[in-house]
Structure formats: structure tokens, C-alpha cells
């Protein structure tokens, strides 16, 4: 733990000289994000010519803008979407899926960063703290015990259940944080809460009907497969305010990251910052879990990658870079998940872990080696 803390301080020590590096890194990440979005809308298991894809996208975008002012353009847009199988695939499958992966990937990374600031520990993340397990537990309870009583479980019910579960665990962690002052101990408490949630889920599964187990297992695998424009609207409605709130907090976050004593001396209300950090983080990760199921690894790894690339812990830099790199990373992983073994699709968590973990291990080893040199 001491090493971890030292490494955060080391990074922070270099933070003021990093504006140029931030500009390069953010521009690089934005470029990567644009490239992967372009690839993601162009590539799929159904082959559509590149020129056709981009001409349909251009036409769609123009109609979309015009439809704000004109009803005729709105009707024309609907006609374009359903005019052929290819346009349906592009506008009803590829585009919403790509955008959802980008928005949620970026948000999950920012959520992970805020948790890491809160716990002053780079291994904190929605998965480690049991927030994802809490979501899974409540989804499991709904599927197993309420499905029979309320009839068919809609995806909206699952979204609400996941959201409720995430917030429940967040509130629990917040409650403990009032008593446990040591952040490492609080992290351990969070992990234990996660274990309890997993145990409750397993307990429910023992008594569940086969189809409920199938449903829960399927949901737990995480996927952007069912993405549609309604999901995008929900994601934007939740994530944009969350991200704005995170940006508004960059100054207190910067002070808090240097220690509670320092933050207090700078006039920061530490208690309020802690509550806001965990609330914003949970809101973002709950939205991701609700719309795409549990997506492992991104929340822990991306902020670490961002800090390593930036060689700085300045909150404004890390939040921006984490969002851009997280959006790129998640979109790229989703592209891999749906194309590598197409038409069979992989779970998103499988790809994020398999492709992301080695990168982080490599970065950690090489950054330690550099420090030793």
C-alpha cells in the first residue's frame, strides 16, 4: 500500500509540467476513438461496402439535424432507416451499439478513477468494491423471486434492478466510510460486501428454476448486443450530468488526492467531497451495469493506463484522458467481441479482460523498471 501511495505522489509531483503531454495524449486518444468508431460502424458480420456505409451515415446525419426543425425530414429519416436491410443494420444495430460502447466505456473509466481517488488506491473499481456484485445480486433476486409474480421481466426492470443494487452497495460503503477512517480498511470492507453479495446470489441460484439461472448467467456476461437508441438516451441523460459533476470537482479532487489534512487546509469540505465522489462514481457505474451488464476490468485499468500515459495525476487531465481512452478501449473490445468469431459473439467482459490485463501488467512492470533505472 505504501508503494502505491508513493507512486501516486510521484506522479503528482510531475503534474504541473504535463500540459503539453496531456495535449498530445488527449489528442492521440481522441484520434484512436474516432478511428475505432469509424472501424466499428464500417465492420460487421454482414458485409456493407465502405462507400455505402459512409454515404448512408452522411445522409442520416444530415436528416437527423434537419429533423429537429422539419417533420418531413424526420419522416425521411425513418424511411431511410427502414429502406433496406443494410440501412437497418447500420442505423439500428451498428451505430447505437458503437455509441453506447463509447459512452459507457468512457463513463466506466471515469467512475473507476473517482473510486481510486476516494480510496487513494489504484485497485479500487466498481468490480472490486462489490458494486457490480450488488447489481448482480438484486437482478438475481428480481429474476428468481419476483419473475413468477410480476410475469415477464422486461429489460427495463433489469435496468432498474441493476441500478438499485449498485446504489444499495454504494450507500453501504458510504455508511461504513463514516466509521472506518482508514481507506485501505474501507477497501477491504468494500471487497467483503462484494463477497456477501456474491454469496447471496449463489444462495438464490441454488433454489432457482433453470430458466432463471440461464437469464442471470446471460445477464452477468455483459454485452452491448441489445443496444438501441432508447439506451443511448438513458446513457446520455445519466452520464453527461455525472461527467459534468466530475469535472466541476477537479479542484477539490486534486486537493483531496494530496491528503485529507492538506485538503482541509485548502478549505475543502472533505466529508462532502467524499460523499460526492462515491455518489457520482456509483451513478456512472450503475448506469453501465444497468445497460450493458457487468463489464469487468475497464474501471480499474483505464485510469491506470491514463495516469501512465500522462505521467500525471492532475484530475482534469486524468478524467479527460480516462474518458477518451475508456471509450476507445470499450468500443475496440466490443468490435473484437462481435467480429473475431463472427457470427458467434463473445461476452464483452471476456474481451476487456483478455486484451486489457496484459497491457496493464506490461505497463506496470515497465513503469517500475523505468523508476528503478
Amino acid at each position: 500500500m505504501a508503494d502505491v501511495k508513493k507512486s501516486l505522489i510521484d506522479h503528482d509531483g510531475q503534474r504541473l509540467g504535463g500540459a503539453g503531454r496531456f495535449a498530445y495524449t488527449a489528442a492521440g486518444c481522441a484520434l484512436l476513438l474516432f478511428a475505432v468508431i469509424a472501424a466499428s460502424v464500417s465492420i460487421g458480420s454482414v458485409s456493407i461496402g465502405l462507400s455505402k456505409v459512409w454515404s448512408m451515415l452522411g445522409k442520416g446525419l444530415s436528416l437527423c439535424v434537419r429533423s429537429v426543425f422539419s417533420k418531413a425530414a424526420s419522416q425521411e429519416l425513418s424511411a431511410l432507416i427502414s429502406s433496406s436491410g443494410e440501412s437497418s443494420i447500420l442505423f439500428r444495430i451498428r451505430l447505437p451499439r458503437t455509441l453506447l460502447a463509447a459512452i459507457l466505456g468512457g463513463s466506466l473509466s471515469v467512475s473507476g478513477y473517482l473510486l481510486q481517488v476516494f480510496f487513494r488506491n489504484p485497485i479500487a473499481g466498481p468490480f472490486v468494491l462489490g458494486i457490480s456484485s450488488g447489481a448482480k445480486m438484486v437482478v438475481g433476486l428480481v429474476l428468481i423471486f419476483f419473475a413468477g409474480r410480476i410475469g415477464l421481466i422486461s429489460s427495463l426492470t433489469l435496468v432498474a434492478a441493476a441500478f438499485g443494487g449498485s446504489l444499495l452497495i454504494t450507500l453501504l460503503v458510504l455508511l461504513f466510510s463514516q466509521r472506518v477512517r482508514n481507506m485501505s480498511m474501507l477497501l477491504v470492507v468494500g471487497i467483503m460486501v462484494g463477497y456477501i453479495c456474491s454469496a447471496v446470489t449463489e444462495f438464490c441460484i441454488t433454489f432457482a428454476a433453470d430458466h432463471d439461472v440461464v437469464n442471470l448467467t446471460s445477464w452477468s456476461m455483459g454485452s452491448f448486443s441489445g443496444a438501441d437508441w432508447a439506451d443511448i438516451r438513458i446513457a446520455l441523460l445519466v452520464c453527461i450530468p455525472g461527467l459534468i459533476a466530475a469535472f466541476l470537482m477537479i479542484k477539490p479532487i486534486g486537493a483531496y488526492a494530496l491528503g485529507e489534512g492538506y485538503a482541509r487546509s485548502m478549505g475543502v469540505r472533505v466529508k462532502t467531497v467524499r460523499v460526492l465522489l462515491i455518489l457520482i462514481s456509483s451513478l456512472l457505474s450503475a448506469c453501465v451495469t444497468a445497460l450493458a451488464g457487468p463489464v469487468s476490468f475497464v474501471g480499474i485499468a483505464v485510469p491506470h493506463i491514463a495516469r501512465t500515459l500522462l505521467r500525471s495525476s492532475r484530475p482534469s487531465y486524468v478524467i479527460s484522458t480516462s474518458f477518451l481512452f475508456g471509450a476507445f478501449f470499450c468500443t475496440a473490445c466490443d468490435l473484437i467481441a462481435r467480429t473475431v468469431f463472427a457470427p458467434t459473439e463473445l461476452a464483452i467482459g471476456t474481451v476487456t479482460s483478455v486484451f486489457g490485463a496484459p497491457v496493464v501488467i506490461y505497463m506496470m512492470i515497465s513503469s517500475r523498471r523505468n523508476r528503478e533505472v
Binding site: G44, R92, L152, S155, S225, G226, A227, D228, T339, P343
Partner: protein
């Protein structure tokens, strides 16, 4: 014993009423008539089953209906599923009345209960191959384990024909023949309708919004073929794979299902859907599909997968839908129309 479809077992009859059952997984069982003992020179490795074979532990859900059709539920004392999970009414009733008790699922049986009641035989599905330690433990405790291989049968009615094997164990060969004859007649009737040429999509949407279809070559896709339909996902998945389903990337799914003439929603796996709206809520992509606009969306009844004895009837229902004989109808055996 002469078999029409099944390839996974054989039954040889010997003097004195002895029967030797050989199964494709290499196991064999010697059925010994009541009052007789293990004969000298019995085949090496054959597990003796002394008649009457009673107090059976049934952990293979698809086999329960075969015993039900043979009027042999009385031979089963232990179930691997709880009462609420049975769609075989006889089994459900037996459990509710205490004639059959839950003894843990296939991967976690209650060994003490089985040993205490001198259970002689556990009937397992091929799922037991993923929990081989359970099989070893049961055998160590003196409980014979018969792994039902009917799911590997290439012909759908091959699955049904495993009723002849259980008929041999229970001395109910005539009852087994009667079931097979009925199902063969249903199949003949379906085959006589010929090929309809209509494309058929059989799938469900999982709780994570992914499309799950039956692998091409799977018995459901074969039933669609026998019923005169053309399976919309005929080139999906390795036909020789053991897996029965494939989670499909949405673009391929959409391009295959978009112009399908008939949709059969597989509600057996993720819970029953009652109306067309229930199905459409699972994915916005399903709106506007040809079959949806034309009202050709059907749904499987929850009991379909536990009705191995009725596969011929199910094929006949499929055939009636594909050939247009079901136009104007809302319900068929094992299928109902979604409105």
C-alpha cells in the same frame, strides 16, 4: 431388439429373460429377471440391474416423460428437479403427494438419502460428464449410473426411441412399441405434407439482449427440416458440435430473421412470453420483421423440452404451421400463436 431411429443403444435378449443393454458411451447393463441371479459367464463389465428396478434416482429431465408414457413413474423414487420445475404432470403430482422426493440436482445429489433407500440406479443426462466425480461417487456407493445418450441421436425420433431401452428395464416393451408407433404415424403425416419452402427462424433473446439460436444440425433444426421448413440459420455453428445453441452476433441474426416467413420464439429457456408485445419488448430489432407484420409468430410451450415422447407430434405441429394448415388457428400441440 429392432430399432427404427436410435443409434445410441442396443438391447439383446437372452434365454431366461436376461437382457443385455449396450450404450454408445461404452457402458452396458445386464437386466436380471426377478428371482434370478447373476449368471455364470455374464459379460465382463456389464452392470447388473435386478428386476424389479425400483427406487430409481431420475436426474435426466428429458427421460421422465418416457417413464410417464410407460406408466413407470412408480419405479422412480427420487427426482433431480423440484416439483415446480416439472412439466410432466405425473411427476409433478408424484412429488406433491410425496411418492417421489427431491434428492438434489444431478451435480449435487443427496448421497445419504440415496444410500439409505438402497437406490439401485441413477439415470443421468450427458451433463453428468461435466461432473464425473459425482458419477464416480455414485458408483462407489453401489448405485449404477446409466447416462442417457438420447441427446446425441441424429434423428429427432431417435430420442423418443430411447423409450424402448427403459421399456426393457421395466419389462414394458409393448407400451414402448405403442408410443413409438404413434410418433411414427405423426411423423409420416408431417412428411406427407412435403416441403413448404418457407423459411423458419427459431430463437430467443437473452436477458443481456443477445440472440440465441439453435445450432444447424441440432435436433430442433432437423425437426423444422422434417416438417418441411427451411431453417433460417442453417449455416450457423459447427454441425458436429456438441453445443445445441449459438449466441449470434446481431447483424447476422437480423439479416437472417428479417425475411423469415415464420418465427418460432423459443420461450422454454428464458421464460414464457404470452403476447407479441412481450416478444417485441425483448429487442426493438424484432419490430417490422416480415413474420411479425404477417402475423406468423408462434411460441413454444414451456413443456416442449420435457416431452421426448411427443417429438413426432411436435414435428406435425411445425408442419401444420409451415404448410398453412394452421392459418386461423391460435393453438397447436406445444405451440401457440403470439398476437
Amino acid at each position: 431388439m429392432e430399432l427404427d431411429f436410435a443409434q445410441g443403444f442396443s438391447v439383446d435378449y437372452y434365454e431366461g429373460g436376461y437382457k443385455l443393454i449396450s450404450i454408445s458411451d461404452g457402458s452396458s447393463f445386464l437386466v436380471i429377471p426377478e428371482g434370478k441371479s447373476l449368471p455364470k459367464g455374464a459379460p465382463e463389465g456389464a452392470v447388473p440391474l435386478y428386476q424389479p428396478v425400483e427406487r430409481i434416482y431420475m436426474a435426466a429431465t428429458a427421460v421422465m416423460c418416457l417413464f410417464d408414457a410407460l406408466d413407470g413413474l412408480g419405479s422412480i423414487a427420487f427426482s433431480g428437479s423440484r416439483a415446480e420445475n416439472w412439466y410432466v404432470e405425473g411427476a409433478k403430482k408424484a412429488m406433491e403427494e410425496g411418492r417421489m422426493v427431491y434428492a438434489g440436482k444431478y451435480s449435487e445429489p443427496d448421497y445419504e438419502m440415496l444410500v439409505q433407500s438402497s437406490c439401485p440406479l441413477a439415470v443421468e443426462s450427458t451433463m453428468i460428464n461435466h461432473s464425473s466425480e459425482v458419477k464416480d461417487k455414485l458408483e462407489e456407493l453401489g448405485i449404477a449410473v446409466l447416462t442417457d445418450q438420447s441427446s446425441n441421436e441424429p434423428h429427432p425420433l431417435g430420442r423418443t426411441e430411447w423409450i424402448r431401452l427403459y421399456g426393457a428395464i421395466l419389462d414394458k416393451e409393448e407400451e414402448a412399441d405403442a408410443v413409438m408407433e404413434r410418433q411414427k404415424a405423426e411423423l409420416e403425416e408431417a412428411l406427407s405434407a412435403g416441403k413448404s419452402g418457407r423459411t423458419v427462424a427459431f430463437f430467443y433473446i437473452s436477458s443481456s439482449g443477445r440472440a440465441v439460436v439453435r445450432r444447424s444440425g441440432d435436433y430442433v433444426s432437423k425437426m423444422i427440416d422434417l416438417a418441411g421448413g427451411q431453417y433460417a440459420f442453417s449455416d450457423i455453428g459447427d454441425p458436429d458440435s456438441k453445443s445445441s445453441t449459438v449466441t449470434l452476433e446481431m447483424e447476422t441474426f437480423f439479416s437472417s430473421v428479417r425475411d423469415a416467413d415464420v418465427i418460432i420464439y423459443n420461450s422454454n429457456i428464458d421464460g414464457e412470453v404470452k403476447t407479441l408485445d412481450d416478444m417485441l419488448r425483448k429487442s426493438s430489432l424484432l419490430q417490422g420483421l416480415k413474420a411479425v407484420s404477417e402475423g406468423n409468430v408462434w411460441c413454444t410451450g414451456q413443456n416442449m423440452y420435457q416431452q421426448t415422447t411427443e417429438l413426432g407430434t411436435i414435428i406435425k405441429s411445425f408442419s401444420r404451421v409451415f404448410s398453412g394448415q394452421a392459418n386461423g388457428l391460435d393453438e397447436l400441440p406445444f405451440l401457440y400463436r403470439l398476437r
